[in-house]
Amino acid sequence: MILNYLAYGVAAWVFLWGLYGIVTSKNLVHQVVCLAILQTSTYVLLLAIGFKVGGTAPIFADIPVGAPVVDPLVQALMLTDVVVEGTVMALLLSMVVKANEVAGTVDPEELRIMMG
């Protein structure tokens, strides 16, 4: 019974750890990685939602149409998600590099130029 909800629990667990990492981070690179971890919680959740016990991958090259398969839509959503992850991280990391170049630090505590 509890196992049925294990995946959802893992998703929430990873989500909270990602948030924890972002909040307590002392290094912008670390913070970006934690954001990537936060993102994987969405994968776990979507994957769990579309899962079907005994279902195979939704590819009908070898199996007949109508055979039990897992939900293809969540996988399509996850593909979009993976692309978004890769590209947003690239953008964020380049901001970090640039910040290190012009401000000489990657500690969010020291990068506070604009405040109040």
Binding site: A11, F15, L19, I22, V23, T24, S25, L28, Q31, L35, L38, Q39, S41, T42, L45, L46, I49, L73, V74, L77, T80, D81, V84, T87, V88, L91, L92, M95, V96, K98, A99, V102, A103, P108, E109, L111, R112, I113, M114, M115, G116
Partner: protein, 605 residues
């Protein structure tokens, strides 16, 4: 040509042109790039206008790839379901983008910054966002809008401040985006659908259980983060203060408001049925958030002396006011929301362009440094002061009509107190802008006190000194301010907006229209209520704002005015909260989510 032909064009053409410009930009030169981009944005203006005309009385559904819904109402494809409200927001987007691109004609001397293609992508994303009728497509355009916004925000990379602003913006908004994905996943788990109408029909009017509430919470928080509602607002001030002025126009004028629009959209297509039993409690929660946001934004706005950051806080305050338009959960307030957003977008866009002119001419942006240096820029000064009164919502500005509808609706629900929030926010935000313009353009009184952020220099958008304001800068600024006034003279504007809002909130009609291809009933136009109360309120607000601005400029002459100093220095605790630390921002974001979730669990169960 029928409307079917050109519905996808406002999204597809800017994207293709952006790809073209990104490749050929190096060779065809700066001016050709500018011309093509402006032509594309202006073309979009006409296209969105044509679409608005086409959907004026009857919303239109467009299925991409010809994937009409299957029998039984299962939609496999993506649709645009365009109504007058979404179409007018797309029109506003096109207007502001055109103005921003024209404004940038003489700034950014370097060419390899991909400014024009990013602006076009940004515009296409916002148009798609306001048209779409699909839950996940809404997220895709949200993310496209975010990514191009992050890049545009960090355009001036020679200084650390823009990077900090862009980084904080990106972190907080991306966390919000992941919350949206989780919320979408939860709704998909329950309904097996992504089309807004189909999700709504599948949930029906069964009372919302905790899963639906959690989905609503996560999606709403994600979009409210974009909308910069307290306590998710921290990124906005950092980002707006450092983004180039033509980009700020889009950020403040329409991007923030689109966040609130998205909440309205998902509420009236999906959640209004399941939450029908708790509509009163939800209204109070949303109004509370709106009031908190309006007050915090207004206080911070008056305490700010970095010109663009000041305008940014005023945007936060006004975002709170517009949230009330949605949060009252009635069509009349929603009509007010549309009018308010359109006129506020134009006025705030004009103000940001004026700030851009000041930065262009004087190379500084802190109120203290600029003291008296703007003498002689009479036209800019006039626009700035007009814009300030526009924020106060006095008579010939469209904001007045929006305010009156929202306040009327609030009174209908015994929430009359909210009109005083309006007055309060208007006094402080308009007062702050007036104060700044008196100091900068007239050199009255003593220089402003310095604060943390006004020491941050505005990165030069141009390197040569300029003694004249080019017409390409003045004209868009003036046009936007005039637009903020002109909207008020649209005949029957309030009842038209109310009618459009009634179509927007008609959930069963919407479902049938999207899934069964029926047409929607045209609502009767309600009579317009008297404006007398609003005119009175806004005149009081306008004159108090003027008095407050004069008082804080001349406080040395009259000891009784010393209270303005403490108002101008701001609340210390409140200021330290805006710490510029992304970790803090995300901590507040989680706290806000947990708190609103707690309220939901307690009151909406």
């Amino acid at each position: 040509m029928s409307i079917t032909t050109y519905i996808p064009l406002p999204i597809a053409i800017p994207l293709v042109v952006a790809a073209f410009l990104a490749f050929t930009g190096k060779w065809i030169g700066r001016r050709a790039c500018d011309t093509l981009a402006i032509a594309c944005a202006a073309g979009n203006l006409f296209l969105t206008l044509a679409i608005l005309r086409g959907v004026w009385s009857q919303p239109y559904v467009y299925w991409f790839g010809n994937w009409w819904p299957r029998p039984g109402g299962v939609a496999l494809g993506i649709c645009f379901s365009i109504d007058a409200i979404g179409a007018s927001l797309a029109l506003l987007t096109s207007i502001l983008t055109t103005a921003g691109l024209v404004f940038s004609w003489w700034i950014f001397e370097e060419t390899e910054n991909h400014f024009q293609p990013l602006m076009l992508i940004f515009m296409a994303a916002m148009c798609g966002f306001s048209y779409t009728g699909d839950l996940f497509n809404l997220f895709v355009f949200f993310e496209l809008m975010s990514v191009s916004a992050f890049a545009l925000c960090g355009l001036k990379t020679v200084e650390p401040a823009p990077l900090q602003g862009a980084y904080n913006f990106a972190i907080v908004n991306t966390v919000g985006a992941f919350m949206i994905v989780i919320g979408i996943g939860l709704l998909y788990a329950r309904t097996g659908a992504l089309n807004l109408a189909q999700v709504g029909r599948s949930l029906g009017s069964t009372r919302a259980d905790s899963l639906v509430l959690l989905a609503f919470l996560l999606i709403a928080v994600g979009y409210l983060t974009k909308a910069a509602i307290v306590p998710f607002h921290f990124w906005l001030a950092d980002a707006h203060a450092v983004a180039p002025s033509p980009v700020c126009v889009l950020f403040s004028g329409v991007m923030v408001e689109l966040g609130i629009y998205a909440v309205a959209r998902i509420y009236w297509t999906i959640f209004s049925g399941p939450l029908a039993a708790h509509v009163g409690a939800l209204r109070e929660i949303l109004l509370l958030l709106a009031a908190l946001c309006a007050v915090v934004g207004a206080l911070m706005c008056f305490a700010e002396h970095h010109l663009k950051r000041l305008l940014a806080f005023s945007t936060i305050s006004h975002a709170g006011l517009t949230l009330a338009g949605v949060g009252l959960l009635t069509s009349k307030a929603l009509g007010g929301f549309v009018i308010y957003v359109l006129s506020h977008g134009a006025i705030k866009g004009g103000l940001f362009l004026c700030a851009g002119i000041v930065a262009h001419r004087l190379k500084r942006i802190g109120e203290d440094h600029l003291h008296g240096r703007g003498r002689g820029m009479w036209f800019t000064a006039a626009l700035f002061i007009l814009g300030a009164f526009g924020l106060a919502g006095i008579l010939p500005f469209g904001t007045l009509l929006g305010e009156s509808m929202i306040s009327d609706a609030a009174r209908d629900f015994q929430q009359g107190w909210f009109q005083y929030v309006f007055v309060f926010a208007e006094i402080l935000t308009a007062g702050a802008v007036l104060r700044a313009s008196f100091r900068i353009f007239f050199g009255w009184g003593d220089p402003a006190p310095t604060d943390e952020s006004s020491r941050v220099e505005e990165g030069p958008e141009t390197s040569e000194p300029h003694n004249k304001t080019p017409i390409t800068m003045l004209f868009p600024a003036a046009a936007l301010v005039v637009l903020g006034i002109a909207i008020c003279f649209w005949p029957q504007l309030r009842s038209t907006a109310d009618g459009a809002a009634q179509t927007f909130v008609n959930q069963p009609g919407y479902e049938d229209m999207v899934l069964d291809n029926t047409s929607m009933a045209v609502p009767a136009k309600p009579p317009e209520e008297s404006l007398a109360g609003s005119i009175l309120r806004s005149s009081i607000a306008g004159s108090l704002a003027l008095a407050l601005a004069l008082g804080s400029v001349f406080r040395k002459r009259l000891p009784a005015l010393s209270f303005t100093r403490s108002l101008e220095m701001g609340n210390r605790a409140l200021r330290t909260l805006h710490s510029g630390h992304p970790g803090d921002y995300v901590a507040w974001q989680s706290l806000g989510t947990a708190a609103i979730g707690g309220l939901f669990a307690w009151f909406l169960r």
